[in-house]
């Protein structure tokens, strides 16, 4: 239901007391409200929906998940090879 895309925080500023940021989405940047991620700092990654940052993104988790999926798929290939033998 909800288009959300990752972006990297470039700069942080305030607008009428609300925390806003300029965020780079990969060659395209936009103003985003970061009021609900008070711990955010420039360089952090966040997931943005409708001009609003929902959460910080975890690089460690992103990499771990990929690593885990690679392991699963390697295991399943090994299984398959065993079956073939």
């Amino acid at each position: 239901m909800c288009l959300g895309i990752p972006g990297k925080i470039l700069t942080i500023y305030e607008d009428h007391g609300t925390r806003m940021a300029k965020i780079d989405f990969g060659g395209v940047s936009r103003e985003v409200c970061i009021e609900v991620i008070p711990e955010a700092k420039p360089g952090d990654w966040t997931i943005v929906h409708a001009g609003f940052a929902l959460n910080l993104l975890s690089e460690d988790e992103a990499n771990e998940t990929l690593e885990m999926l690679r392991e699963i798929s390697e295991l399943s290939e090994m299984d398959e090879n065993e079956h073939r033998d």
């Binding site: 239901m1 909800c2 288009l3 959300g4 895309i5 990752p6 990297k8 009428h16 007391g17 609300t18 780079d24 989405f25 990969g26 060659g27 395209v28 940047s29 936009r30 103003e31 409200c33 009021e35 609900v36 991620i37 008070p38 990654w45 997931i47 929906h49 409708a50 001009g51 609003f52 929902l54 959460n55 993104l57 975890s58 690089e59 988790e61 992103a62 990499n63 771990e64 998940t65 990929l66 999926l69 690679r70 699963i72 798929s73 399943s76 290939e77 299984d79 398959e80």
Partner: protein, 724 residues
């Protein structure tokens, strides 16, 4: 920008295929899963992931599209409020074409209402502060994902002391919908993929009791292909192991508790209220209404619209369709009273048929048989555009299906002749007593803004017409230009535009040989409109046109797609994003004549302008009665254009180009043609993207990196930014 595996890593086709293999190995019996979220359905269809799953796994597409489940009565209230004098009604783009009982927000705009598309609820607040004499209303739809942004808009308006801002609260909630689906006596769903972005905000602490109560495993799932197949794998594993639990397969964005600051903000502004869902009915405590402290921001109170109560259709079975209990074709109204153009229930319902046109042939056939005008929408379209027959709406100028229908039913039926019905961008005229033929084309230019990165209305008005003439293989020589100027238009701008036209003419080697100028009163035009017509001779023996594609032909494109569409949209400034993207507007006649000098037997040339590559190829496939298969991975799109499309929910294959040409020619000539085109400054990124086949005439099929196939149809209506 370095990309630490947030997107690219999760689109790795190899890894997706391996996880799919694992799913096949684990599946030993039939399972019915529901992905509740419309965004996930969209991604599954876009990548064709359902085609890769074992037959035993049935994916039931849930009611998780906030646009589609917004009840009729709220849309009717929105239409009523938008029609009040002094109101600027703001909405996410995808809400604009969802029909109420009397038309949609597009028809409201056509009837004089001020309706504006915003990317963010906070943009609506900005509009309110810039227009203190107007009442600005935001249509606050969405699930929990959008709720914090909607709440923030209210808080921001309060902080700024804005008395002219209000929202029409329409937020809906996921857990009550899951209860409603699972508690149905006929429930078939055995496992859930929970919506990743809802959980990014709300966490998943609400789900263990649901999983326990209904004995259905739930997996929090993201939106990329690898996220989706991982979510499915984890659900299947639990089902096969007879294990009931809630697992998180989107750990990079979701924690158990969720974003507590966001939840606090939501609960400060909103309280749970009973809410009707379109086609489903009332679900207790399934929506958000404003708390008493913020009631003054409630547009339904400010405009007394709450009394507008519209009954949903009693015949409609959309609710049961959404729960996977019935098929759309089980409905007595299906294809007769309920059509994609005029859906009775959730617009999602016809979509469910249309996304599976190959597997659900029976339903398609029934729909075609029953409907007076043939339904020829293929592939996922959501929401499906409303049929407008009473007055012109902006979608009639989109260059897609609505434009085609306008031409077919309104123009061709009245002024049609064999020249027009060839259906090309230029006409081919036979001149008596000469060998050659004359190519003639005309094009009006109304682009807004008139100056944008990479071009302006002047350069566009020359290049657009030069290209249309060149697409018949003609050598463009002469243009005419008609100007409609609005009173007050700065002469400085006019001179700049004329200079730009002169420069483009010089580059293309054409001359403007006749012109016309009209001035209209202030408010009767938008600064400047330019019409140009172009003339050129087609050398003897050349037969180039959309009707000449042959099986065995190769499809080439002269460069990257979507640059013009995004550059213009960005320059408008409404959506508030910045990039270095420039329009590709350029005359292509030299590139084409270099090509035709060496390879005269080119079959089709077409510039994919409005409607983009997909619409142009669909037209060609229909004109030539062939099918076209494209390799998605070969299609060139710049990274920043792709990013902009992902932000706005656009498909780059439907965006306008003004300096690109599709070339269809015998397959064995493709390499030589590419070599020639690449020598032109406008063809350096030229590449072969597909092939022409005899089978399935009229179809354009996109082969994805995942080995799946997606049907590309014409652009259905105006391109709109989506949140869903």
């Amino acid at each position: 920008m370095e990309n630490p595996n947030f997107l690219a890593g999760y689109r790795n086709a190899n890894l997706v295929k391996k996880v799919i293999k694992e799913i096949h190995q684990r599946t030993t019996q039939p399972w019915a899963l529901m992905e509740i979220c419309g965004g996930q359905t969209h991604a599954i269809m876009q990548y064709g992931l359902d085609q890769l799953l074992p037959e035993d796994i049935e994916l039931i597409h849930g009611p998780g599209c906030p646009v589609c489940v917004t009840p009729l009565e709220l849309i009717d209230q929105a239409l009523w409020i938008a029609a009040q004098p002094g109101v600027i009604f703001t909405s996410f783009g995808d809400m604009l074409r969802v029909p109420g009982s009397q038309g949609d927000l597009f028809s409201a705009r056509a009837a004089g209402s001020q309706v504006r598309v915003v990317y963010s609820p906070l943009d609506a607040v900005k509009i309110a502060s810039e227009n203190p004499n107007d009442q600005v209303v935001f249509f606050a739809i969405g699930f929990e994902t959008t709720a914090p942004a909607n709440a923030m808009a209210v808080l921001q308006a309060e902080k700024m002391g804005l008395k002219n801002f209000s929202i029409l609260p329409a937020n809906v909630l996921v857990p009550p919908a899951m209860h409603a689906i699972l508690s149905s006596p006929n429930n078939r769903i055995q496992g859930f993929l929970a919506a990743g972005h809802v959980c990014a905000v709300m966490g998943y602490w609400e789900y263990p009791p649901i999983a326990e109560q209904y004995q259905a495993p739930i997996v929090v799932t993201g939106f990329e292909p690898l996220d989706l197949v991982r979510g499915i794998l984890q659900t299947i594993k639990m089902l096969e192991e007879n294990r009931i639990d809630v697992e998180n397969a989107y750990t990079r964005a979701v924690t158990y508790e969720g974003n507590q600051a966001a939840q606090k903000m939501i609960h400060q502004v909103f309280k749970p209220v009973d809410r009707n869902w379109r086609g489903i009915g009332m679900i207790p405590k399934s929506g958000f209404g404003l708390r008493r402290a913020y009631e003054s921001f409630d547009a339904s109170k400010r405009f007394d619209s709450a009394d507008i109560k519209t009954q949903e259709s009693e015949i409609c079975i959309a609710g049961q369709v959404l729960q996977g209990l019935k098929k759309p074709s089980d409905c007595p109204a299906f294809g007769t009273m309920c059509t994609p153009q005029n859906p009775l229930g959730a617009p999602w319902c016809p979509l469910k048929v249309l996304v599976q046109p190959i597997t659900d042939m029976e339903e398609n056939r029934k729909m075609n048989e029953n409907h007076q005008a043939p339904v020829n929408i293929q592939g996922p379209v959501c929401p499906i555009p409303h049929q407008h027959t009473e007055s012109v709406v902006i979608g009639h100028g989109s260059g897609g299906q609505m434009t085609q229908d306008l031409i077919r039913y309104n123009f061709q039926s009245r002024i049609g002749n064999p020249y027009l019905s060839e259906g090309n961008d230029a006409a081919r005229l036979v001149l008596e007593n000469t060998d050659g033929q004359l190519a003639v084309s005309t094009d009006s230019h109304v682009v807004s803004p008139i100056f944008y990165p990479g071009g302006d209305i002047g350069r566009l008005s020359v290049c657009g017409t030069v290209n249309d003439v060149a697409m018949l293989g003609a050598v463009p020589s002469f243009l005419t230009a008609g100007f409609i100027l609005e009173e007050g238009f700065p002469i400085e701008y006019l001179n700049k535009i004329i200079d730009s036209m002169a420069e483009a003419c010089e580059e293309a080697g054409v001359r403007i040989v006749a012109g016309d100028t009209k001035v209209v009163e202030k408010g009767k035009a938008d600064g400047i409109f330019i019409n140009t017509a172009g003339f050129g001779l087609i050398p003897k023996g050349r037969q180039i046109g959309g009707q000449f594609a042959q099986p065995g032909d190769a499809v080439l494109i002269s460069g990257t797609l979507g640059d013009h569409g995004i550059a213009v949209l960005q320059a408008r400034g409404d959506l508030g994003f910045e990039s270095g993207i420039k329009s590709d507007v350029a005359p292509l006649n030299h590139l084409i004549s270099d090509l035709l000098d060496r390879i005269p037997d080119v079959h089709v040339l077409r510039d994919p302008t409005r409607g983009g590559l997909a619409t142009s190829l669909k037209e060609i496939a229909c004109q030539s009665e062939v099918s076209i298969r494209l390799d998605e991975q070969a299609i060139p799109i710049k990274d920043d254009v792709r990013t902009a499309c992902e932000m706005l929910g656009f498909d780059p294959l439907y965006l306008a180009n003004e300096g690109k040409v599709i070339i269809i020619l015998p397959g064995e000539k493709a390499d030589e043609a590419l070599e020639i085109i690449k020598k032109s400054p406008y063809g350096t990124n030229a590449i072969r993207i597909g092939e022409v086949f005899e089978k399935d005439p009229g179809m354009v099929l996109l082969e994805t990196a995942f080995g799946t196939t997606r049907i590309l149809d014409m652009l259905s209506g105006e391109i709109l930014p989506r949140i869903c």
